[in-house]
Amino acid sequence: MSMATATVQPVERENYLNKHYGVGSWLFTTDHKRIALLYLISITFFFFIGGFFALLIRLELLTPAGDLVQADSYNKLFTMHGMVMVFFFLIPSIPAVLGNFLVPLMIGAKDLAFPRINLLSWYLYIIGGIMMMHCMLTGGVDTGWTFYTPFSTAFTNTKIVEAGLAIFVAGFSSILTGLNFVVTIHRMRAPGMTWSRLPLFIWAHYATSIIQILGTPVIAITIVLVAVERTLHLGIFDPKLGGDPLLFQHLFWFYSHPAVYIMILPSMGIVSEIIACFSRKRIFGYSFVAFSSIAIAVFGFLVWAHHMFVAGISVYAALIFSLLSYAVAVPSAVKVFNWTATLYKGSIRYDAPMLYAFGFLGLFTIGGLTGLFLACLGIDVHVTDTYFVVAHFHYIMVGGALMGYLGGMHFWWPKISGRLYPEGWARLAALIVFIGFNLTFFPQFILGYVGMPRRYYQYPQEFQVLNVLSTAGATVLGVGYLLPMIYFLWSMRYGRPAPDNPWNAAGLEWKTPSPPTTFNFETEPVVTWEAYNYEELDAPHKEEVPVVR
């Protein structure tokens, strides 16, 4: 923290980072921005744990024989990769980090509605995380993250109940975050910040919160039922005890399909912010983009059985769920078209956040279109439970969600840290991630169509070349993910101090200092403009005057 480029910040101002010092000031903070950073550290930790499992998986699959690890270890690796990435990285990632940081700033509030509950949700996440780590270090689980019964309740002798409880606890953290956002967005908007003036990031988080609140309890109940059957032998899912294994799949996917939208909707919100800023335009069809988030959240609850077309459900149920799945595809397509149209006649710059947004567009388009294949009954029979599915959901959950997350991290990093990241490295990293991602996962589409099933630790000879390509891509991708972590850390010490609004972006968060003060706004902001008022911001004779300081 030096005197750096004198014009920007001659003396370091008091902000949320330097107001208090000491471990206690972090562990007992109720500042949404500090809690966001606590989450950032925690989820980054789990991301690299999950990534390490992925690396071992890809290395094992380099050769057809099972040679690097044993079958049981491999089964635990993909199970824990899935559980860690889904429940401890992807679901909390954008909402708990960027959402936590930005929701109050964007609507002109001093904090979330329930700051202490916000801290509680982080502690729940950490307790769940510690339970999960303990479970993994003392044996792990080998059911796949899907926990299909009766394998999970009557056959495996791994730590199902412990892993289930870890997810159960972490689930409440997710519910509380959602609850906090909904109440905050309803009750704490600054004067003049009407619903139609909300940034699309807020709309996306609102839709996400609805899913978190309504969906998560279902997985919690399902986990309890699994634990009850496993420990007390009450027949719920095991046919030998009079249960029905398909009941489990219905309950599991009733949460776990919408959970995909918990991951992707916030990412879509970020992409809207970035595209608007770097095109200097209001998002094309603002209200359509906003309501498509809500439509996705609602329709998302009606399509779960498309994971079960070959599971033994009736033909008519399959027809209905296929049809409904296409209904949820429409609002997703609408978003993509609107983002594309926003570029038209814009004034476009290719800074790193925008490169990530472009990457998101490309990968989400491919992920979404291959979703049409899987929703199609005739095709799904052949490709479900193969690498085609693996490729598809990585395009959505990693290509889509993670691209958006990284884009958002770059976009708001100056606000969060008060420092600028090195732009050249960041652009390079975005390019490496994009190339590495496609190299890793595109071959898996082909691998799936030629028939390689998922969760195989050894495989017939003929699948090798495609697997080698995929593993090669994964190493490139790994480099792409390591780079941002390195230069973000570097910039915290050596980065140039960030101006309050380095992108000259619209949005209340940019009218606060970088980094913001503890209570965000010294006087309550009054909003008199529409979202994305880039026309005013760029008007030639107008000087940039920070409204609130």
Binding site: H382, T384, R455
Partner: protein, 331 residues
Amino acid sequence: MFDNFPLWPDRASTAAGNVDALFIFLIIVSGLMTALIFTAVVYFAARYRRRRGVLAEQIEGSTPLELTWSIIPLFVFMVIFAWGAVVYFKGRTPPRDSTEVYVVAKQWMWKLEHAEGQREINELHVPVGRDVKLIMTSQDVIHSFYVPAFRMKQDVLPGRYTIAWFRATKPGTYHLFCAEYCGTQHSGMIGSIVVQEPAQFEAWMSGGTTGPLSATGEKIFAELGCVTCHRTDTQGRGPNLQGVFGKPVLLEDGRTVTADENYVRESILDPGAKVVKGFKPVMPTFQGLVSEEQLNALVAYVKSQSQPAAGGTKTAAAPQDQNKAAGSQVQ
């Protein structure tokens, strides 16, 4: 093509061509959409890159455009849906008079038994050009019977039957994979489907066998004492099972079910679940007393009592329903 770098799977069943045609259609549609979006993004990004003194032109949006790009994709989606539904429906409806093979999956092997009595493990011999219906169940966890060359996959569940069928078109040996994760040796649960010319297949079939599955079933039927109630006249305490299979059955509670494999199975394991009208729920459960293979034989026997060719003597278990054989109490 290259032995270790296939870009397309073998096409060895009647279904494979249908699935491939649909798949190619989807590739074209999604290829066009991808090209459209990528071209637009790249063109706009290059054409409207930031220039000094040039401001973005603000455009609010356009309802007609929004409707256009909602309705046209929706229409395309409906075409895909309908085509996919037709292909799926065909794949899920076994033709009449299919040859039947009973499949029992367990950790980690496939046990297959032809209606004629031949048993195989992890290998299934079938002739070219004949419809083969698989009647499948699992002894333990959920498995999935997947033959990529046939574009056919069906989960195999414990406690009930699931049905699949195919008609092979090309002699050869094809992978049979377990596609639903089932434990330690999941990836070792691989078998093969050997498709032979009819003459070769007949030669293979004439190999040693203990007689048709239904005959085995008849023996079990007698041993377990089923015959004492399921008589071939109307005097039995249980229904006469001749001519019952495949027909609708009126139940005590007024419902009607079709007497298919799952109904027969459930009636043996959970006799009280769907009692035939006019009979008392007096049959004891056979849960735990008969193995999956014996169950298959009993089902094959009951079935044989409804086929004109098979001259039966007695009758079988009290009919009941299909769908989820909620296994009975016990244990």
